[in-house]
């Protein structure tokens, strides 16, 4: 019954890094062998610290940068063999900062209509009717149609960004930290809107965030990334109730819920995120892992099946 819309199989992305004029280039592995499947109609969330490769995956899914190895499939068809415009019709992005993702010189109508113009869809009258329909859908008043982004609040701008993404009737929205730049009350409005739109248009969300409370609220399935690898992928309930990987556990312990009776948590992670140019041997997480053993420094942990997903940790075998 379930249908795979997006699939990553063994996707890697490396970047050459200049070390100085006369030194050889080093290789930074941003994404290291990620395989995952996103089913139609679900909210698939990607979580991890900065530098873990979340946004690189988003860029590859949007076709903005090709993977160095592995394949990305949209409904079973490799993205590399699909026309860039066809990809854009099915997958659209919503970015983090609505202050920099909207052209300040364009009116709201221009911004929302741009995808229609690029894809040569409809005449002027049809575009106008689609724009005003989209304003309705995202809850923006019609009088803003000729406004420019600087006249809008952060929440309204993010609504424009969502309207622009939806005007092509895509199947998948890639939401890269869509609420991180917003105030909490506006964040709640945008999350409510995203959930409503998902039901109304039967959308699939690929949702990137570092805010675990938001992810627990909106996601159906969650993948936790660490240094370019997915270390645990589970259904929401399983992950938040019974996380298997020590890194996921530490992440969950770090979340500060608004409860004054609890003090500051001790996640035992230490401060230093490893250097992605020379990642640690074995399990990349071992230098920060409180339970690491000697074999963790040597052996790279294979993904291990759990009832509702998998986790990659050598200690799970016992």
């Amino acid at each position: 019954m379930s249908e795979t819309v997006l699939e990553l199989s063994g996707v890697c992305k490396t970047y050459p890094i200049s070390q100085g004029m006369f030194r050889p280039k080093a290789t930074l592995t941003a994404v290291n062998g990620v395989s995952l499947k996103v089913e139609r109609g679900e909210v698939f969330a990607l979580v991890g610290e900065s530098g873990s490769g979340k946004s690189t995956i988003a860029r590859m899914l949007l076709g903005l940068t090709p993977p160095s190895a592995g394949e990305i499939l949209i409904s079973g068809v490799p993205i590399a063999k699909t026309n860039r415009r066809k990809v854009a019709r099915r997958i659209q992005p919503v970015f983090q900062d609505p202050y920099s993702s909207l052209n300040p010189r364009k009116t709201i109508a221009d911004l929302i209509a741009l995808p229609l113009v690029v894809h040569k869809i409809g005449d002027h009258a049809e575009r106008q009717s689609r724009i005003s329909h989209m304003l309705d859908v995202v809850g923006l008043p019609k009088r803003l149609i000729d406004a420019t982004p600087d006249q809008l609040s952060g929440g309204q701008r993010q609504r424009v960004a969502i309207a622009r993404a939806l005007v092509m009737r895509p199947e998948v929205l890639i939401c890269d930290e869509p609420t991180s730049a917003l105030d909490v009350s506006v964040q709640a409005q945008i999350l409510n809107l995203l959930l409503d739109l998902k039901n109304e248009f039967g959308l699939t969300y690929f949702f990137i965030s570092h805010n675990l409370a938001v992810i627990e609220h909106i996601a159906d399935r969650v993948a936790v990334m660490y240094l370019g690898r997915v270390v645990e992928e589970r259904r929401r309930a399983g992950l938040f109730e019974d996380a298997c990987h020590p890194y996921t556990q530490a992440l969950l312990e770090s979340v500060l819920t608004p409860d004054p009776s609890l003090g500051l948590p001790e996640n035992g992670l230490g401060g230093s995120f490893p250097n992605p140019i020379s990642p640690p041997s074995g399990c990349a997480f071992h230098p920060r892992c409180a339970r690491a053993e000697s074999r963790c420094k040597v052996d790279s942990p294979p993904p291990r099946e759990i009832a509702d997903g998998f986790a990659s940790c050598l200690l799970l075998n016992r």
């Binding site: 610290e49 900065s50 709640a188 999350l191 409370a213 608004p258 409860d259 004054p260 500051l264």
Partner: protein, 326 residues
């Protein structure tokens, strides 16, 4: 005597559209060694209020107050010389983005020592020793070698630890931390807050923590002030404000955050309808009334102030009537 006393602070900023009343009468006091968190959304005036203490407001801004006293010094009529002696010395500030508040052209050692050399009669070696000691307390390993590094060579978490150490160089009485962990990963956030809290209790400093993150507030603050449209709408001990929030805005904020156990995944979150009012015009009555589910005609007439319990204060008429009925 309280370390810091603010009475009826107002800040007006002239803009092309008229006079912006950014802060409209804030009164608070802070005891030595205590942590006061000021919560509010962007534009509520929380950062401006703290900049006003340091007299670091934008040049056009006009600051007025019935009283602004720090450690017995009247900040309203202090000379520039007196203010320079206070800033960085008796009160220090930690900003949100450590990359922009550290100078990229100087080593962190230079920047740390400068604070102490500026305010105290110490030798470079003494300043350096204190810098190393504080960096170590802030959880930086091999602090001695770090002193020779430049800000770009450090990660965000390390930079924020450097900022904290810098703020502590002169052992100030008051630290103002403006969104100190907002730019950091969740895993680092708790560690930085812990460093701040431990150093604060070790040196007996007071702290004003400015943030929009209620989770941070709940875990670290003694007292909380909730700001809306340039005014404090609720103040009180953190435990009371979080368990029995009195103001409809505070309650609305809490319903907005997805919280395991309180909100159901996938269901609609509580939302505060409408938008923050325009602060350019003269506002009469309660600024929140147009977004409030309990507003009455009386809310448009005056801005209420009342004490719920002796230390929990809520500026809301509907809270008053509930109190009277009880």
């Amino acid at each position: 005597m309280a370390l810091l006393e603010i009475q009826n602070l107002t800040i007006d900023i002239p803009t092309s559209g008229g006079l912006l009343h950014a802060v409209r009468g804030v009164s608070l006091s802070l005891e030595r060694g205590k942590t006061l968190a000021i919560v509010g959304e962007s534009g509520s005036g929380k950062s401006l209020s703290s900049l006003a203490l340091m007299d670091l407001l934008p040049r056009r801004a006009v600051r007025r107050a019935d009283a602004l006293r720090f450690n017995g010094v009247d900040l309203m009529c202090a000379t520039e010389r007196q203010k320079q002696d206070l800033r960085g010395n008796r009160m220090a500030m930690i900003f949100q983005e450590p990359m922009t508040s550290l100078n990229p052209a100087f080593t962190i050692g230079d920047q740390l020592c400068e604070v102490l050399l500026r305010h105290r009669k110490v030798s470079r070696t003494e300043a350096r020793d204190r810098a190393v000691m504080l960096l170590e307390k802030a959880g930086i390993t091999s602090a001695g070698t770090r002193l020779g590094q430049y800000p770009h060579q450090l990660s965000g978490g390390l930079r924020q630890r450097v900022m904290i150490s810098m703020a502590l160089m002169c052992e100030p009485d008051l630290i103002i931390a403006d969104e100190p962990t907002t730019a950091l990963d969740v895993t680092i956030q708790a560690q930085i807050l812990r460093v701040l809290r431990d150093l604060q209790s070790e040196f007996g400093m007071a702290m004003i923590l400015i943030t929009h993150d209620l989770g941070v507030v709940a875990r670290i603050a003694d007292d909380v002030g909730v700001m809306y449209a340039g005014r404090l709408v609720e103040t009180g001990p953190a435990a009371k404000v979080f368990t029995t929030p009195g103001h409809p805005y505070t309650r609305g904020l809490m319903d907005c955050i997805p919280t395991p156990g309180r909100t159901k995944p996938g269901e609609r979150l509580g939302a505060i309808p409408g938008q923050v009012p325009n602060l350019v015009e003269e506002l009469r009555g309660c600024a929140f009334r147009e977004r409030c589910g309990q507003s009455r005609s009386a809310c448009g007439e005056s801005f209420p102030d009342l004490w719920l319990a002796d230390d929990h204060r809520v500026a809301c008429l509907s809270g008053q009537s509930a109190e009277n009925a009880a």
